[in-house]
């Protein structure tokens, strides 16, 4: 797999570091990691930093993860970029809302690095295939 540029969106800097570590443990060759603490900040980050993959929390201040997924189409360079939600919100209705809004995967916290690998790699491979 090519070198990957990823955006991690979570209001916890600790969780952003854990997610980054999990991506590396999943075997992803990370060229660049950019971070944001909420959905609104993430939209701004995306305008200046094209990425191949987005991992996003749901419960965040300012703009939550579901609203971010709904608004991501406003950023031209982010269209088609796969989004995987990583969140404590584990109910079926949240999963349905996230997938309906455009997310491609859903991981419940607490999570293991294996779960990140299992949910992220197929989504990413599919998106890269489509792109090439």
């Amino acid at each position: 797999m090519n070198k990957i540029r990823a955006l991690i969106v979570d209001d916890s800097s600790v969780m952003r570091k854990i997610i980054e570590r999990s991506l590396r443990q999943a075997g992803l060759d990370l060229e660049k990691i950019v971070e944001a603490g909420n959905g609104a900040e993430a939209l701004g980050v995306l305008r200046d930093n094209p990425v191949d993959l987005i991992l996003c929390d749901i419960n965040m201040p300012v703009m939550d993860g579901l609203e971010f997924v709904r608004q991501i189409g406003t950023v031209e360079s982010a269209k088609g970029v796969p989004i995987v939600m990583i969140t404590t919100e584990g109910s079926e209705s949240h999963v349905v809302q996230a997938l309906s809004a455009g997310a491609r995967g859903y991981i419940r916290k607490p999570f293991t690095p294996d779960q990140v690998k299992e949910h992220v790699l197929p989504v990413l491979e599919k998106a890269l295939e489509k792109k090439s």
């Binding site: 419960n59 965040m60 201040p61 584990g90 949240h94 999570f111």
Partner: protein
């Protein structure tokens, strides 16, 4: 979910305490790779000086807290991030807030009938132990203490009826 029974009554009827303990244990096992041990009676009384709080609203209303010593919270942060990465109090506060958030989420995900109707607030962390906790929740509370590397971690859920 039952609609003719208050959430506090349901917590009593269904005995939610073991579910809360399981939610706490799973978070520590999965995110820290550590197994928590049950606390003895004397350890139940040991107070902490750092408290993570997450509010619940919707089908279950109340507040979930995770309280421990700063030493314990620092050890938790080091397990989560690696000792070399924990350089400031911010990391310790953030780590405890996330633990509290995951315990609350894991707990509500284990309860039947909550299906998206119980929401969580973003976490808040209070430092210092010189305060009294006066919950306005009128549905009683569930509380348990477990040991992380022989240090007590107290988790408490106060519910509105």
């Amino acid at each position: 979910m039952k609609t003719d029974t208050s959430i506090a009554a349901r917590a009593q009827e269904e005995n939610w305490l073991p579910i809360l303990e399981l939610a706490l244990q799973e978070v520590f096992e999965i995110m820290l790779g550590c197994r928590l041990e049950p606390a003895s009676g004397s350890e139940h009384r040991t107070g902490g000086d750092i408290t993570g709080m997450v509010g619940l609203a919707g089908s279950a209303c109340g507040v979930l807290t995770v309280c421990c010593s700063t030493r314990t919270a620092t050890a938790v942060a080091k397990h989560m991030l690696g000792a070399e990465t924990v350089r400031s109090e911010d990391h310790v506060w953030d780590a405890l807030g996330e633990i509290c958030n995951m315990v609350a989420g894991n707990f509500k995900n284990k309860l039947s009938g909550m299906d998206g109707t119980c929401m969580l607030s973003v976490p808040t962390v209070i430092t210092g132990g010189e305060y009294s906790f006066h919950s306005l929740a009128d549905g009683g509370c569930l509380e348990t203490t477990m040991l992380f590397e022989s240090m007590p971690v107290i988790v408490r859920l106060d519910l509105h009826s």
